[in-house]
């Protein structure tokens, strides 16, 4: 079958052709980018925190009549209160380990700074300095969070100090994540000195952990695992405790810690929001990402349905309009399959021109999103998949009206409408 008669016929239906092609182009542009956004969001949600997330929960509590950090001996009193709490929590049945900690991965509360392999360096140029998030905890941190040590040693009880929450003081030793260690010291970080926040005091790296995500969920991959672990308990009128329970005992322990802490000291704020499992923390952190993915998914689905329905509608109309001509062609010897193919090829031509424009639009939209939002270049695979999907949807949509056309009997030719 030659294309010429099809093209000639299409010239008679310019408006319909343009509308279908435009619809396919716009749908392709939006669906490609939407699916890309879904993919990115899901990738982000699936980013590992480095923690053993099951059987882990966090307590955030505040003392009512805690001594001020700046009153004489205030920090020491606060530290004693914290140690008392930690001891009480360790006594709760089925608790495996407990660690005080200033924040957690995905908790969205962070203490950030700069870390460098050279003293006095705060300019983020070159490879010798990078941004980092500090985690303040004690020797129980790694087993409690389930973070794996890959080089050097972990903190021991003797390493752990304490300081007021807002006090600024460089520690003597730190543990880095592998991501951070590799950035600063490609040849192994253990035993090397780092300098914090542009300072001049050398801080020794004693160990490297496999992975530990920073508290903010939204950062890019280049900063997502830049954590520095410091063996210091922070003392303030509030404290956070990470608790690991025996497998399957999470809910029971979560219920048991509140009375245990009230027994130590009832003058504290400890409500429903204070005890949260890591699963809850994760859900909250990624709520917007998941919601966005769901929204985009729903929009794509409806969009594809609308486009397919539009093609069915317009093609049905054409079939109705050409009823008589189809009859004539059938009477002149065209087979059913020829009529079917005619409409299928016609749709392929229209959809083909639509996807060509659609690819341009998709790339353009992606460029625009890149310049306005945190977005990366759309991989060509997404666009190609989109092109094939649009062509397939076009063919599927045209099938029903095309088959109806092929069933037009030749006798129609002899009737005067």
């Amino acid at each position: 079958m030659t294309l010429h008669p099809i093209l000639a016929a299409l010239r008679k239906h310019k408006a319909g052709v343009v509308l279908i092609a435009m619809q396919i182009a716009l749908t392709l542009a939006i669906v490609c980018n939407a699916v890309f956004i879904i993919g990115q969001r899901i990738e982000r949600v699936n980013r590992p925190t480095g923690l053993d997330e099951s059987n882990l929960f966090l307590i955030t509590q505040q003392w009512v009549d805690a001594p001020g950090e700046d009153t004489p001996g205030g920090v020491d009193k606060l530290d004693a209160m914290q140690l008392e709490d930690l001891a009480a929590l360790r006594q709760v049945p089925d608790v495996v380990s407990v660690a005080p900690i200033n924040s957690m991965p995905l908790l969205d509360s962070s203490w950030n700074g700069a870390i460098a392999s050279k003293p006095g360096d705060t300019q983020f140029r070159g490879k010798s300095v990078t941004r980092t998030t500090y985690y303040f905890s004690d020797d129980q941190m790694l087993p409690t969070l389930g973070v794996r040590l890959v080089a050097g040693r972990a903190f021991n009880a003797g390493d752990v100090g304490h300081q007021g929450f807002r006090d600024q003081r460089d520690p003597d030793i730190v543990i880095l994540t592998k991501a951070l260690a590799d950035k600063l010291f490609p040849n192994g970080a253990v035993g090397k000195a780092v300098y914090l926040n542009g300072g001049n005091k050398p801080v020794t790296v004693i160990g490297v952990v496999e992975r530990m995500q920073v508290p903010y969920a939204g950062g890019g991959d280049e900063v997502a695992w830049n954590s520095t672990l410091i063996p210091t308990r922070l003392n303030a009128n509030f404290a956070r405790y990470a608790v690991r329970t025996k497998p399957g005992r999470l809910d029971d322990v979560m219920r048991a810690v509140t009375p245990a802490l009230y027994k130590v000291n009832p003058m504290r704020v400890l409500d429903d929001d204070s005890v949260r499992s890591f699963t809850e923390i994760r859900d909250k952190a990624y709520r917007a990402d998941l919601g966005m993915a769901i929204l985009m998914g729903v929009v794509c689905l409806i969009l594809l349905c609308v486009t397919a329905a539009g093609i069915v509608g317009l093609t049905s109309f054409w079939v109705g309009q050409r009823h008589r001509q189809i009859g004539v062609r059938r009477a002149l010897g065209a087979r059913k399959i020829d009529i079917l193919h005619y409409f299928q090829i016609e749709n392929l031509l229209i959809a083909g021109s639509g996807v060509v424009i659609g690819v341009l639009l998709a790339v353009g939209l992606n460029q625009w999103l890149m310049s306005h939002y945190e977005m990366t270049r759309i991989p060509i695979l997404y666009v190609l998949t989109g092109v094939l999907a649009m062509l397939a949807i076009g063919q599927a949509a045209v099938f029903v009206p095309a088959r109806r056309a092929s069933n037009v009997p030749p006798v129609v030719a002899t009737r005067a409408v």
Binding site: G16, E69, G198, N200, A288, G310
Partner: protein, 436 residues
């Protein structure tokens, strides 16, 4: 004639039900997606204090310098030294400093365990500046600020919790072990976005429970419960060291009535920074900012990117639905070419045909709008899936949104019908009659 064409339009909805249902659904889904996302967008991008947004300004002073600030911009809050200097200078009609504090309070009644209360340490000008509405009592005076008195203004919600909602002015409340005298109870007041505290929040947070004098909070050495940002390698312990450090944690607001007052304040800020440079505290030339409310919302990017992207996607979606509608209307109208031919032959003008088909499209739009309204209601209810609860609860289906949904559906459909109706009006009566 309008009524008759409208009736014809309603009747034709029933003709080719499949085609019509498709159009109505396309418009319904398109308009619902747009309106749902628009409801959220409107909620997050609105002006939180429409009457005064152009008179309230937040000053910023670069105390970090070009080596440590963020791409040349001053930090988004002030350190204690600069904040107090601006406050003492009294260069604006009204001015306040503020920072977030958290305290605990014993609610009394049958609950004997303390609960936390979130609030702000502010100056007395805070209340008239931000038009805070009072149920009982009022804010405190400048004398109270100076006297560093233990006053507190509590929210209606906290008043309900502590005092059962009665007039509690003059009563005493114990926060974190210290007694405060209640001087005022606000009506429910929680501007969204919370423009006055964008340093500590992203603009959406549960309402504050109390406001206490900044001076008193300083005496009690209460540290900010919100953000704190420091630069460089710092070594210090204790409150006084912290207050003298470059850590920023205080937000300042000033009220300036006229353009002249704004210019004057700007000059004062420049002058202050240059004095600091002369005094050797800053090693850089003045780098100050003075943002009004809407500029500040923009600088702090209060509208979440989710909201913008989903609005864009929804609009694109609506555009596709309209293109679809043009195609389907074309099919629907031209199918009736014979009918049009007869009408034209009987004397109807092109204009008449045009009017009839536009009105018919309008009825399709109306049907789509009604469907869209139902879907919008469902969408607004489901917004919580996509946005944090503090934002989600702002999106509401009010009368203006209902009206807008219907209006957008009808207007968009009528616009989409221009071309199909024009084609219908151009049908040649002779040709149609002949082929019959």
């Amino acid at each position: 004639m309008f009524a008759y064409y409208f009736q014809l339009g309603l009747r034709s909805l029933r003709r080719n039900p499949a085609l019509t249902a498709l159009m109505v659904m396309a418009i319904g889904f398109g308009v619902a997606a747009s309106m749902t996302t628009y409801a959220v967008f409107r909620a997050v991008s609105g002006n939180p204090i429409p009457g005064k947004s152009a008179q309230l300004f937040t000053p910023l002073v670069d105390n970090w310098g070009p080596q440590q600030n963020l791409q040349g911009e001053p930090p988004d809050a002030l350190d204690y030294v600069d904040a107090m200097a601006l406050m003492r200078a009294q260069q604006a009609k009204r001015q306040t400093l503020l920072y977030q504090v958290q305290m605990s309070v014993l609610p009394g009644g049958d609950r004997d365990l303390p609960v936390s209360a979130n609030g702000y340490a502010v100056y007395g000008d805070f209340f008239p500046m931000f038009d805070v509405p009072f149920q009982y009592g009022s804010g405190w005076s400048a004398q109270d600020d100076e006297a560093r008195s233990s006053d507190v203004v509590i929210s209606a919600q906290l008043n309900q919790k502590l005092f059962g909602g009665v007039n509690s002015v003059g009563r005493t409340v114990n926060f974190s072990g210290h007694d405060y005298r209640v001087v005022g109870v606000t009506r429910p007041w929680d501007p969204k976005p919370r423009f006055f505290d964008l340093f500590n929040t992203t603009g959406f947070k549960d309402a504050s429970d109390f406001y206490m004098p900044f001076t008193r909070a300083q005496d009690l050495q209460m540290r900010s419960n919100g953000g704190n940002s420091c630069r460089g390698s710092l070594t210090f312990t204790g409150w006084e060291d912290y207050r003298q450090s470059n850590c920023v944690w205080i937000t300042a607001w000033v009220e300036l009535d006229s353009a002249a007052a704004v210019a004057r304040y700007r000059r004062f800020l420049e002058g202050y920074a240059s004095d600091q440079q002369k005094a050797g505290r800053f090693a850089w030339s003045p780098n100050v900012r003075l943002y009004d409310v809407m500029q500040w919302l923009d600088v702090r990017r209060v509208v979440p990117p989710e909201s913008r992207i989903s609005l864009l996607v929804a609009l694109g979606f609506f555009a596709i639905c309209l293109v679809n509608t043009i195609g389907l209307l074309l099919a629907k109208f031209l199918r009736r070419a014979g009918e049009i031919g007869v009408r034209r032959a009987l004397g109807a003008s092109r204009r008449e045909i045009y009017a009839q088909y536009l009105i018919e499209a309008g009825t399709v739009g109306l049907a789509g709008g009604v469907l869209g309204l139902l879907l919008t209601a469902a969408g607004v209810a489901g917004v919580g899936v996509l946005f944090p609860p503090q934002i989600a609860k702002l999106a509401q289906l009010d009368m203006s949104l209902v009206g807008l949904t219907l209006l957008v559906a009808i207007i968009a459909t009528v616009l989409a019908a221009f071309y199909p109706a024009w084609r219908a009006a151009r049908v040649q009566p002779a040709w149609q009659l002949k082929s019959n």
